[in-house]
Amino acid sequence: MAQSINSGFTPWLKRDLLLAYRRRGEVASPLVFFVMVSTLIPLGLTPESAQLAEIAAGMIWVMALLATLLSVDGLFASDYQDGSLEQLLISPQLLPMPLLGKITAHWLTTGLPLTLVSPLLGLMLSLPAAGYLPMLCSLALGTACLSLTGAVGAALTVSLRKGGLLLSLLVMPMYMPVIIFGSATISYAIDGLNWLPPLAILGALFAASVALCPLAAAGALRITSAN
């Protein structure tokens, strides 16, 4: 098998998808969390449609962010514990590509389902009609950024026990630009403005993340799993 720059992407993508399929229940929990937390908002605030409509865009984004945060430390945990990560680190192929495959699998099993379920939440939180399409677009791009950035945090905490909470703390500041532009996309649309500019910035964040996060995560993994 010749060494090509993208060797490792597809095999590891398929592998992680298969593993996620075998642990369907576990993998579905961030999605269930996402939906359940949306019930907390009317309970905690108000059931009035008008008021819910004002905060729906932001709240959906906050919940998507929290749900992703819950799921991201599972990215490397299982492989670290059974020794598969070590085998990956000593294989001849370049490390960032298999990592990108794993992150893509992670997005396909968390971010994408969140995005597809979000219209249901929009309905429950009285999201104005203009917000639905921007919500789908911004969540699709944004959760991809969250998976990518989360992977760097997961790589930095992989060898720690109880690294999950620390991971959330580390990664939260990096998530803030994503939520700013993600929820702004929806708000702009609801206010009747052109919602493509904030979406474009989200796209730029995504492009930068795809380019840089696999490299950063690879470097961090080599260092932290050496101990």
Binding site: L19, Q81, D82, S84, E86, I90, S91, Q93
Partner: protein, 213 residues
Amino acid sequence: MSQSTLLKVDNLAFERDDSCLFENINLSLNSGEILQIEGANGSGKTTLLRLLTTALQPSAGGILYKGVALSQCRYQYLSNMLYIGHQPAVKLTLTAEENLRWMVASSAKINQLSIDEALDGVGLSGYSDIPCYALSAGQHRRVALARLLISEAELWYLDEPFTAIDKQGVSFLEARLQEHLHRGGAVLLSSHQDLAIDNLRKYSLSSQAGQTQ
């Protein structure tokens, strides 16, 4: 079988957290040879193996593969190396067959043996479709060891390969190692056991500078 120096380790040293685990490690491994690393628990056997796999970086010294420094031939070296560590790298939700298939998927150097034949060879013939959470630790190790039947890599690094396997497994492994050596491969392993293999050299990590017997 041509005698060539596959691996040469020069003055390797490793320190962690300001304490030196070992230094002045000098050893060489030729094709057809097997080197057994001995040492008390904690003396650094696993660390030495991990240094050789490039999972860790040495604090001093160098490693040469066929005379070339590792930094310059990383791809060739890693393609030609097989490492089985303490953990068998077995995913519990996959079956034995899927695990083995995955383990050899990225290796370029494999022979024509099929996955099923390899699993037969390690005595797991009825178990290929069973998910690994239903198998014992010894059976997990057999799945990992099945790689040895398929691999054509020259260098084998094995960390305590005899843990959790029974007497039958031990003789199977010894036979397989012998066969690998006959074909010009080389093995470096850490183990407490006495092995019945020709051409065995030992290297002790008990003292600061190792001794070759």
